[in-house]
Amino acid sequence: MGDKMYSKEDVLHTLHETVCLYKGLPVIVFVSNDLKDDQIMIQYTNGKSEVINYTESEFNYSAPEIGYVNYRNSAYYLSRSPIRGRKQGLDVSNLITDPDLPPGEKRNLLKSKSLSSCITNKYPNFSVILIDIREGLIKSLAFSRLFALGRVDYRLIGVFFRGRLVGNVIKNTNKVKIHQISGRDIIVKLFLEQRGSINE
């Protein structure tokens, strides 16, 4: 997108302090009266900022794809709510996290490199996460937008699909067993697409 809006006020209400994409990277947008009509300031997750025109073809304010985010050594599943509001980009008011995070923490998450990795679809390797969980370094972490691994109890490492326990890692292996649940075939297909192998 990047289509022109009607007025500066529209730009402010629609984009200010929301997460949008610029050249494929997530940025936080700031709109102020100091900038010209089509100008916005964007801030990358590394802290760098620049002024651009929101009408540039490389600026995209359509809803970004989200899913699991690895934030502070845990996996959180993110989703957006279709609330009636003026914000086009992702922001605290339309973002839902599972487990739930307080608004202040959500604000931090929106500015984090973790969210950037989620939007750009960069996740740690399945095997690396498994080692870290087995060694007790972390409790849960995602290896794709849809799937995460997490410690269920001291014996079992679970496979989570969008926050739901759907399987487990077979002891002393890198193999996974998806439980006999409704819609299993669909979940297995998605798992295979993202991980490549499975133990039926």
Binding site: M1, Y6, S62, R84, Q88, G183, D185
Partner: protein, 308 residues
């Protein structure tokens, strides 16, 4: 639907509008637009410009006549076309399908079938409608499934079906909050174009989904897809309709349908749908009887008072 199954109108005790389809066309114009027979004009806060307005069908139209009414609207507006911004990101074309005569399970089946095919179908609505805050797809705003789950798990004695969909979460491409507000399922995906063929393709495609009788529950939809594949599903739903071919040309359509199916596992298997329907019938038939009993007592009291 079995003979005794309660429809939305039975449950909500409302009158059923005679028509099938309501339409809303939002327009941003640089010129004052005319009144058109069969259509009301409203101001709409989300639009911009001096002569922005929304044409809303005067009443729900029957399937047999809605094309004619749409044609009247678009023909009347054609001479103003150069003044109208058809590419505005704010304008859209909304379709309401009357679901008062459907059971809750039939409505859920429609919803799941639409959501399954939504991403490739909505590519037809144009680039500005993808990820647009006024018509977010399931993949953009899947938190709507939390509301759907909550609604389906609600105690039926405490709240009627679809009451969890409050008015403030109506910016999905399919809006379920209109079910209890207007008795309709609203589709908000299409852009505000004045092109008759585009609008008719879209509406008749949605009509196929809403009026299909092949699938009787959400789990049946997903089971059919996973067992037979996307093409068989498209053949079943659309047959020789434009969308059967269109979806095949849509970008990554098979991956997108699979992803939607994954999201929909949240609700498609949440119930044994026959049991859910039975519990709805039981709850609301009983309530109806209790209310009738109270009304009868009231009437008896009134007669006694009159006699005395």
């Amino acid at each position: 639907m079995s003979e005794k199954s309660l429809t939305l109108a039975n449950i909500n005790r409302c009158n059923i509008p005679k028509g099938n389809v309501g339409m809303e066309l939002e327009i941003e114009s640089k010129y004052r637009l005319p009144d058109i027979i069969g259509w009301n004009i409203h101001q709409e806060g989300s639009l911009r410009g001096d002569y922005a307005c929304e044409y809303v069908s005067y009443e729900p139209f029957k399937y047999s006549v809605y094309k004619e009414h749409l044609n009247i609207l678009l023909s009347s507006l054609s001479k103003f076309r150069k003044h109208i911004d058809e590419n505005s990101i704010r304008t859209s074309f909304h379709v309401h399908f009357n679901v008062c005569n459907s059971t809750p399970v039939e409505i859920w089946t429609t919803a799941v079938l639409y959501w399954l095919l939504e991403t490739p179908m909505m590519q037809y609505c144009g680039p500005s409608r993808q990820g647009n805050r006024f018509c977010l797809r399931l993949k953009d705003a899947e938190a709507i499934l939390r509301v759907a789950s909550a609604d389906l798990l609600n105690d039926l004695h405490m709240s009627r079906p679809f009451t969890a969909f409050r008015n403030n979460i109506r910016y999905g491409a399919m809006n379920l909050s209109s079910i209890n507000k207007f008795g309709s399922l609203e589709f908000r995906g299409m852009r505000g174009t004045l092109d008759y063929d585009i609008l008719i393709n879209w509406m008749t495609g949605l009509e196929r989904i809403v009026e299909q009788k092949v699938f009787t529950s959400p789990s049946e939809v997903l089971n059919y897809y996973i067992n037979k594949g996307a093409q068989a599903l498209l053949d079943k739903v659309f047959d020789n309709h434009f969308f059967n071919k269109y979806i095949n040309t849509a970008k990554n359509y098979d991956k997108e349908i699979l992803l939607s199916a994954g999201l929909l596992t949240d609700i498609a298997y949440i119930h044994d749908w026959k049991e859910y329907e039975e519990s709805i019938n039981k709850t609301y038939s009983k309530q109806k009887k209790e209310e009738k009993f109270l009304l009868d007592i009231e009437e008896a009291r009134r007669i006694i008072n009159e006699v005395e």
